[in-house]
């Protein structure tokens, strides 16, 4: 509980900081007046329509990725698993890229996240069709890897066939992941699906604990593993699919955060869920502040930064697991 409180306090601090950091040199008091709806109308617009939804999305997406990562690692009993492993993120990205490629996103801005969500939904259907509802873990992972590869190939094809370099650029930059220029409409589109995903993962917590002892022991402890598997797949798909749909590809958060917090929570998968969600929110908030501070005006992408942070941690994990196998 103390860990959750500490992470929540950190999150609140970073959220507040995020509200007052940006490219416009507005100043603290003017920003505050803007949030309260007073002062320069342009400042009011920037604060209420850009920075506030940006900070809110950072919390939602970070929490979703952290929660999905903790749930999926618990389910697969593998600390190297991350939400993207089931292929949903790649398909959400494909959906969004197609919305850009076809020009749909230019006509109707919300087509981009909606197409991402459609891609995520399609990936779940394909995953279940490919691996079957009672699939074993290895089949599930292999199916996810195959789907990710297929989606990656189709994204490359879309880039390859893009009508002009600007369209290709737009797709490339979108895929790098960012929270810039998002509105409350994005929050409204993502929130119900993220909430459903969070509910599904949270409801699986007792089953995840039993699964720590192996699938057969879990069944003997009253866990319907087939049902648990479906809940985890749908939950992860909702969380990572909706997150990717509104923010692009933001990798490593779902991998790194649960790993960093696992020992502090005592190892039980159920105890890791809430801290990972809060920790994920804190990490995305921190990363989103960082991209605005270290290279102002250069639009450093959030997904690039999280990958830069995540890769060394991932390598460290591999190094450690190599030591265990030796």
């Amino acid at each position: 509980m103390r860990l959750i409180l500490a992470l929540s306090a950190l999150c609140a601090l970073l959220f507040s900081t995020s509200l007052f950091v940006g490219s416009g040199n507005v100043g603290f008091w003017n920003s505050l007046r803007g949030y309260l709806g007073a002062g320069d109308p342009l400042v009011v617009l920037v604060m209420q329509e850009l920075r506030l939804p940006r900070a809110a999305l950072a919390v939602l997406i970070g929490a979703s990725l952290g929660l999905a990562g903790a749930g999926l690692q618990g389910f697969l009993r593998n600390p190297l698993a991350e939400p993207g492993i089931v292929g949903t993120s790649a398909f959400a990205a494909l959906g969004a890229v197609l919305a850009l490629q076809t020009g749909l996103a230019a006509v109707f801005p919300m087509a981009l996240p909606l197409a991402g969500l459609a891609g995520a939904a399609l990936s779940v259907l394909l995953l279940l069709a490919l691996s079957g509802p009672g699939a074993r873990t290895t089949t599930l992972i292999l199916s996810g890897v195959a789907l990710s590869a297929a989606a990656g190939a189709m994204v490359s094809l879309a880039l390859n066939l893009s009508r002009n370099p600007f369209a290709a650029n737009e797709m490339m930059f979108w895929m790098m992941g960012s929270l810039a220029d998002r509105s409350f409409q994005h929050v409204v589109v993502a929130l119900p699906i993220l909430a459903l995903g969070a509910l599904l993962i949270w409801s699986s917590r007792k089953g995840l604990d039993a699964l720590s002892l192996g699938e057969e022991t879990a069944v003997s402890m009253g866990v319907d593993v087939r049902r648990l598997r479906l809940m985890l797949i749908f939950g992860t798909a909702c969380l990572s699919g909706a997150a990717t749909s509104v923010a692009g590809m933001i990798g490593f958060v779902g991998l790194v955060v649960p790993h960093l917090l696992r020992r502090a929570t005592g190892g039980l998968p159920s105890r890791l869920l809430v801290p990972s969600a809060v920790g994920g929110a804190a990490l995305i908030l921190a990363a989103d502040i960082t991209v605005r501070v270290i290279l102002p005006g250069r639009d450093l992408k959030l997904g690039v930064l999280t990958a830069l942070i995540g890769t060394p941690v991932f390598l460290h994990l591999i190094w450690k697991s190599r030591g265990r196998e030796a």
Binding site: R77, P79, S212, V219, S220, G222, V223, G267
Partner: protein, 243 residues
């Protein structure tokens, strides 16, 4: 006497022929047989973990109702997450729908009773194979189910711990529970089990009190060893024609 487990014609492909079995309260049954005889298959099929023909009174129950009736100690001893011993034992307590609370106090008491106190606060993945086996058995016992199916509960244990574990399972049976455990140590099983079942090539070859089951002919034929009885104890020896 109430049967806590009933199998009627339970069969799994070529691995287990149609098997009938009834296990009553107060019995500690040692399921013995050479490697590949079908012992684990029988346990798994009885629990409903394998697609099987025939009837098992446990597999017929809804999954969520099973923890009330049966606890299972699987052969798998691997644990990925850094969970502390008492926390793991408490998972067993929490699995039983009749139990309330987080089970930490019960887990602590059980850990002390089973001699796990010395490493109760350590994390399970850091324990030795034998210590881990004892913790996992404690987890199964914490469930408080009247029937325990244990797959090689004495595997990886030193001789003293093997005896303690066999005595513990016998005490459970004497207290009114039923235990069905696969075992490889014939003298240990014969010493502490109330009943032994010899399984060979998926078929029950003998079933009864240890004294009547472990005949020279059967042990020679099924296990390829000689068995010697002296008082209450048993030893196994190499067959004379192989010596």
């Amino acid at each position: 006497m109430t049967a806590l487990l009933t199998l009627r014609g339970l069969a799994v492909g070529r691995r287990l022929g149609p098997t009938d079995l009834a296990l009553a309260a107060g019995e500690f049954v040692g399921l013995v047989g050479p490697n590949g005889a079908g012992k684990t298959t029988l346990l798994r099929a009885a629990l409903g973990l394998l697609p099987a023909a025939g009837h098992s009174s446990i597999a017929a129950l809804p999954i969520t109702a099973r923890p009330r009736h049966v606890a299972y100690l699987a052969q798998e001893r691997e644990l990925v997450w850094p969970i502390a011993v008492e926390e793991l034992v408490a998972l067993g307590w929490r699995a039983n729908p009749d139990h309330r609370g987080d089970g930490m106090a019960q887990a602590r008491a059980l850990s002390q009773r089973l001699g796990l106190a010395a490493f109760a606060r350590r994390q399970v993945p850091g324990l030795s194979g034998g210590e881990r086996a004892r913790v996992l058995l404690a987890r199964a016992l914490a469930q408080g189910a009247p029937l325990l199916l244990a797959d090689e509960p004495c595997a990886a244990l030193d001789p003293a711990q093997s005896i303690r574990t066999a005595k513990l399972l016998r005490a459970r049976a004497d207290a009114g529970d039923a235990v069905l455990a696969t075992m490889h140590d014939l003298p240990l099983a014969a010493r502490y089990c109330t009943r032994m079942i010899v399984l060979d090539q998926g078929e029950i070859r003998a079933d009864g009190p240890p004294g009547t089951v472990l005949t020279q002919e059967l042990c020679r034929e099924v296990f390829g060893v000689a068995v010697l009885r002296h008082g209450a104890g048993w030893t196994i020896a190499e067959l004379e024609d192989e010596a």
